[in-house]
Every structure is written in C-alpha cells, then in structure tokens.
Point group: C2
Chain length 232, copies 2
DNA sequence: GTCTATATTGTGATAGAC
DNA sequence: GTCTATCACAATATAGAC
C-alpha cells in the first residue's frame, strides 16, 4: 500500500531574515561554510555526480548538518546554482547596459569575462550542464535576479543594443548584425575556451601555464578580432 | 575484515572479433539497440545522471543484459563517448586537413558543423561535461581515433593550418592570427549556441522553431563574420 | 547547533533458471 | 541470449542524544 511521502519538517535557520545580531548560538558562519563547500564540490563533480558526504567533508561538518540547513540535496544544488549565476550575470548586464560606445563595451566585456572565468574555470561547464539538466531553473533564476519576467528585461536590453548597432550601421562604421547574434558571438568567444579546456589541453598540448598564456593573449586579440568582424 | 572486491567475470560477446557469420543465436542487433539506448540516455541525462534501468527500458530489454554485453556502466559510458566522438571529429579533421583555400575551409566547416549539431543538439553539452569529468578519456579516444599520439597529429595539423594562414598574411589577404586561436574561435562560434541553448531559450525567448531559424541565419552569416574578422 | 546512529531507498551488479 | 530474482552497497534523509 502507498505511504504518505515526506512533506513537512522542522523550521530551518535559512528562513529567518538577518534580525540584528546572531541570536544566542548561531554562528551564521556554518551555513556559509556549507554553501562554500557545496559550491566547490558541485562545480568540480557536477550536480548529479556530487555526493553529500564529500560536501560535508569539505565543509568540515557532519552530513546531517547539510540537511539541517538545506532541506535536501536538490535545494542545496539550487542554492549553489543561484549563487553562481548571481555572481556571473549582473556584471555582464552592467557592462552591456551601460551608456558607452559599442567598441568600448566589447573591450570591457572581454576583459571582464576572461578575468572572471580565469578565476573560476569550472563555471562554464557547470552552468552548461546544469542549464541543460534543469532548464526550468534558468527562468526562475533570471526572474529572481532582475525582478521582472525575463522577456521584458531581455527584450529591453536587446532593443537597446540593436539601436546602438543600427546607429553604427547608419553612420557607416558597422556591418549590420542582429543583436542576438552579436551577443551569442561575443559570449561564445569568451566562454567556450574554458568549457572546452580539457579538449584544448590534449588537442593543443596546453598544460596549466600554457593555457594561461593562451587566455592572456586572447584578452588582447579577441576585442580586435571581434570588432574587425563588424567593420563594414 | 576486508573483502576481496569483484575482479573477474564471464566472457562477453563484445570481446570476440567478427568471425565470419554470427554463431548460432546472436542477433548482433541487441548489442546495437543497447548502445543506441545508452547513447540517447547518456546524452540527455549526463553520464552521472543516467540510470541503467532507464537505458534498459529504452532498449526494450532487461537490466541484466546491459551487464552481459558491457561489463559495467563505466564501460558502457566509455563506449558511448567513443561513438559520439568518433562521429563528430573525423569530418572536422577531414575538412580542416583538405587542400582547399582557407575561406572555403571556413565555409564548409560552419555548414558541416551547424548541420551536424542541429541533428544532435545534446552533443556539445554532453561532450563538455564528459571531458571535464574524465579528462583522461579525451586522450585515449583521440589516440584510438588517429592511431598516433595526439601531440603528433594535432601538431601536424596545427603546422599546416599555420602555414596556410601565414601564406595569406604574406599575400596581404589576411591579418596574422595564431592557428590555435583561429581554431578555437571557429569552433566556439559554431558549438556554443547549442551548448547554451537553454540559456538562449529564456534570455532571447527562443522556442524550438525560433532556435532553428536562429541557426539557419547563422549558417549564412557566420562564415562572413569570421572571414571578415580576418581581413587585414 | 552539532553530532552519532539508523532508517530507507536507489542503483549497479550478479546468480541461476529457461 | 534473455529473463526473474536478488544481493551488496552507496547515498539521501531522519531520529534522537548531547
């Protein structure tokens, strides 16, 4: 016969907003340590491949504590996903939304992106896997991030970028290109080398130092490459 | 006390080379069906997220048969990885290694790649995840594929491509660019949209048909974009 | 809040009948 | 070669002491 599945549980500290000072005995630090550990493990093992035990070990706490702070592995995974995405996307939007010339946007975007990813090389592969496995989370996240439905935010930015492109075309300084293709090209050129790093490692014989050199060179040449492609 | 772990097992049909005709009762078809099913499941769930049961269901056979034909999940995963890679890479090498002008290479590469990936959209995300989780398999595979250590094969192709680029530079028809950067840029522009498709779906509001249209347009514009970037 | 111990399932793998 | 039944263990999750 059917059993009533798990439905309700004890109250969790995650729910209580920061009410002044930490009440009595609550480090507020443990939850952070767990999240940090989960972040590291999920990124290097992938969400499905990660083990709660490994996260607990990395955090220096017991497995049970993971469930005390976060109800389940799934919720922990979602928390990590949101943190990764929240760290990565806003700077991008800030640059692309700022009122500066298009060529300057490209230069800043490349610099920002390559610097960020060089410090977190697992992020691209992690995000790609995660988004493919949980397409729903992407929408939830962006909504939580921007505060409005995605369509609106993205549509607005797309329109602004397209206007900037069209102005350049009218001025004779740019070839016509659709804003989405523009963005996809730019992001692809920045992100892909990190996602495909293991392939490059063997196909090009790039060890750690050589990869860094490859990226450093890219940081200089990529803006020129991209802007040159847009020349009329 | 310690237990002796599993070490040896029954002989498997996979080991016997094709000796003339199928001996007595061996469809030779079942193994293929299992491999097809594994292919489908591994690609949509990821290797770690895939379940042997789901593969068996998809193949229309029992779980035990998976272990009869392939010793373990790990071996099955490796077989799938090799099949995916073997389908994807040789055409690429053929195009890039053929004695045709550089701009023609670019055009053919883009057309080939976008057509292939449009038919197998999960491949990029799968390969990226798999290569990051099993960097070792990449080397094994390429060795098995080309028959020689990777360094040699890749080095040779890299040199050939670089020579072609340098010739163009000398003739005044090309900007200088390192062969690895050339290849990474080209591959990134082709592959990334498929890997990041879920993100584009929400960020750009692209449903299935719109994505196809996006790719179709890309097939025309990407070669121009790329070649334009190389103009002096 | 944090731990130890335990429950409960999920999952890869094997044995053995047919 | 293919199946049913089952094992062994890994992994998520919970109970309860401190």
């Amino acid at each position: 016969m059917a059993l009533t599945k798990r439905s309700n549980r004890m109250p969790k500290p995650s729910d209580q907003p920061p009410s002044g000072q930490p009440p009595a005995a609550h480090d507020g630090d443990t939850e952070q340590r767990i999240l940090d550990a989960a972040h590291a493990v999920f990124l290097r093992r992938g969400t499905a491949g990660a083990r709660m035990q490994e996260i607990a070990d990395e955090a220096g706490v017991n497995k049970a504590l993971l469930h005390y702070y976060f109800r389940s592995k799934d919720r922990l995974a979602e928390a990590v996903f949101q943190r990764v995405a929240r760290t990565l996307f806003p700077p991008v939007l800030a640059v692309m939304g700022s009122p500066i010339p298009l060529d300057e946007k490209v230069r800043r975007f490349v610099a920002l992106e390559l610097d960020t990813l060089a410090r977190s090389p697992f992020v691209p592969a992690y995000l790609i896997a995660e988004m493919n496995q949980h397409p729903d989370r992407v929408g939830q996240f962006i909504h939580a991030l921007v505060g409005v439905p995605i369509d609106a935010a993205a549509g607005q930015m797309r329109a602004a970028l397209q206007a900037q492109i069209d102005a350049g075309v009218a001025a004779g300084t740019l070839r016509p290109i659709a804003a989405p293709q523009f963005m996809v090209n730019l992001i692809a050129l920045c992100v892909f080398p990190f996602a495909a790093r293991p392939l490059m490692a063997v196909a090009l014989g790039l060890d750690g130092a050589a990869f860094d050199a490859f990226i450093a060179r890219r940081k200089v040449e990529l803006p020129e490459f991209f802007l040159n492609a847009l020349r009329p």
